[in-house]
């Protein structure tokens, strides 16, 4: 037998083994359930759905659209939207408001998308909210960060946002650790610095907890001074409402100054990243609490398992399985279930927007409470979430149940909920 002839069956065996391994992996992840879930490939004219994400720039926010794309692929393999496939078009705004306007304009006016789903961007809410309202395009966004994402008629993010997240973790620290004085640290980014700690302050004023805000320059090289300034007022808790890249040096500076032994530390959702506990080290074990916008990625609920199964079957192996991905999956599921209630042959933007506004009582074990959109002037349906703690090089969920935020700015949201009978 020649050498090549010998190698051929070996190659075939390897291919077979790889296929079996892949199948075993898919089985371990479970069979995904999407849309009509009938196993029939959708055909006919595609339904255009868009997304704007901040992929290239200071951080990569595209995990939400990657997960949404995986879900739509799964939908297309399982009957589509009543037979029609979804054409999901994702654009990168490069963290640039001008680019965000340009790409959203192309999607809305040229590609005539019927809705936007899974958007996650730092700049596009401010840049595009008016366009979406003028063109009557509804956005079911994955993750919204600045204020504009939660104050637009046509923009409904699935996450809580940094303001509600700070309020919830402040309430937790007051309840669990008897904190009466909290310092909230926030970067001086427009629509964030003057807004995201104010919810905790409002909640504190009504509950006898003094919350002071320190606005920082995120480009500053000197994290030690920020920590010393925060500690100068002898607070019970220092609450970090900053991106993880700034948070880690702040915790390192606090550790060097021995502050972790005198003051409790807490954070909003950005700390929920697998690298954070390993990077900050043992000094923060059981000494750093954080709020999660969704249930933990390893939680055992059936919808969370389905998200993982969708990712295993329809997303790249290297695609992140993080809370951004959870948000994109949820946004795509919300949109799909709303679209399935419509006649696929006569779909237009007005009908789709009306159907998306009518979303009410959407249930998922990834969320603490059912999600809704409604016809309100703004949207912040997710105001809950569990609390976790850094523990053993990972995270441990502290509260089995969910906390729900209460602060003055949510009054209109609560009024809308009452009006909608929620």
């Amino acid at each position: 037998m020649s050498r090549i002839a010998f190698l051929r069956p070996l190659g075939a065996a390897l291919v077979l083994l790889a296929a079996l391994a892949g199948q075993a992996h898919a089985q371990a992840a479970g069979k995904p359930s999407c849309g009509l879930n009938n196993g029939q490939k959708a055909g006919g004219e595609p339904i255009a759905i868009g997304a704007v994400v901040g992929k290239t720039g200071p951080d990569d926010f595209s995990a939400s659209s990657t997960a949404a794309a995986a879900y739509f692929k799964c939908v297309n393999e399982n009957g589509g939207i009543n037979g029609r496939p979804v054409e999901y078009i994702v654009a990168d705004d490069q963290w640039n408001p001008e680019t965000a306007t340009l790409v959203a304009g192309k999607l809305v006016r040229d590609r005539k998308v019927l809705a936007m789903v899974g958007n996650s961007s730092f700049v596009e809410c401010g840049a595009n909210a008016r366009l979406y309202e003028q063109e009557n395009v509804m956005v079911i966004a994955g993750v919204g960060v600045p204020r504009e994402c939660f104050f637009a008629r046509n923009y409904a993010p699935v996450n809580t946002g940094p303001r509600v997240s700070a309020t919830l973790v402040a309430a937790h620290m007051a309840k669990t650790h008897k904190a009466r004085k909290i310092v909230c640290i926030i970067p001086n980014i427009p629509s964030l610095g003057n807004w995201a700690c104010e919810g905790a302050k409002g909640w504190g004023a009504a509950n006898g907890v003094a919350v002071e805000t320190i606005t920082i320059d995120p480009g500053s090289a000197d994290a030690t001074s920020v920590m010393l300034q925060a500690a100068a007022g002898k607070p019970d808790v220092i609450l970090l409402n900053v991106p993880k890249g700034i948070m880690v040096p702040m915790l390192a500076a606090a550790e060097q100054q021995g502050l972790n032994r005198k003051i409790r530390f807490a954070s909003t959702t950005p700390a929920y990243n697998a690298d954070v506990p390993k990077t900050i080290g043992k000094a923060w074990d059981k000494a750093f609490d954080l709020h999660l916008e969704f249930m933990p990625i390893e939680s055992g609920g059936p919808d969370n398992a389905n998200w993982k199964a969708v990712m295993a079957a329809y997303a790249d192996k290297a695609a992140p399985r993080d809370s951004f991905a959870q948000s994109g999956y949820l946004a795509a599921r919300i949109a799909t279930e709303a679209l399935l209630k419509l006649d696929a042959k006569t779909l237009d933007r007005a009908k789709v927007s009306t159907a998306l506004r009518a979303v009410k009582g959407f249930k998922s074990d990834i969320l603490c409470r059912p999600f809704y959109v409604g016809d309100g002037a703004r949207h912040n349906a997710n105001t809950s979430g569990p609390i976790a703690q850094v523990s053993g090089g990972g995270f441990k969920q502290l509260t089995q149940g969910c906390m729900t935020a209460e602060e003055p700015e949510l009054a209109d949201v609560r009024a809308d909920e009452k009006r909608l009978g929620l």
């Binding site: 610095g193 320190i214 320059d217 090289a221 000197d222 001074s225 300034q229 880690v248 100054q257």
Partner: protein, 285 residues
Amino acid sequence: MDTLLPFLVSGLGVGAVYALSGVGLVVLFRSSGVLNFAFGAIGALGAHCAWSVMQAEGSQALAWAVAIGVAMAISLAYGRLLAPALAERDISIRSIGTLGLALMLMGFAEWYWGEGPRRLVLPTDADGIEFGDVRLVWTRVLGLLAAVAMMAGVGLLLARTRVGLRMRALADDRGLSALLGVRVLDVDSVAWALSGAFAGVCGMLLANIVRLQPTLLTFLVIPAFAAAIVGRLESLPVTVLAGVVIGVLEACAILLPGFAAFRTAVPFLVALLAILFFRNSTRKA
């Protein structure tokens, strides 16, 4: 004073590394007439390589050797391969050339290591000198000592050694030095390698004191430039002093309501004031 003390102490550490970076910039400028915009990026790349060594359970000594070795190799490679092609051009063109290197190195580091949170821990972080409620950790003390030692070392090198004399001759007139028999490329190599070693040390210290992030470390060259400008790109002691003062002013600026959130502007303000002051004193002269 009690309010100010913590920020004075905290600013000393960062200021010391600004000072050290400033010395690294001045030594290259005084020998080859290049203002090295890539100084921060070279240090950042060295620090990231050192972090990778530590992640692979490598020793501290190996990590430092890798950081300094990588930084020296990049600096030397640029100095030998690319810088000579611009040697006869205007000083601004020679300096802008290094900006290209900075962007390439920064882009590579971001692509290779990504944006994930990282921390470069040194054994000297664990303890330090206590000043009331503030601790000046040994890493910052090390930075201060290194700044003073390297200032003295480079001062002696330039003033008392043959290679130092050749470096100064080269900076004054490259063509004439070559005609007089100075081996231009060899002297250049020493200057670029030395500047690379400074970048490696500064990269490690800044990655520890500030944060291990390519973009931020690349642009930390700005406060070092400010320090070097105050020293008129010539005086090493003034550069060191200016670096420390910039660090302390930046830290103390946190106490100014309204300005605190914009305190990264301190180095720019110091550099602008220095330029205005020099302009006025030149006119008087």
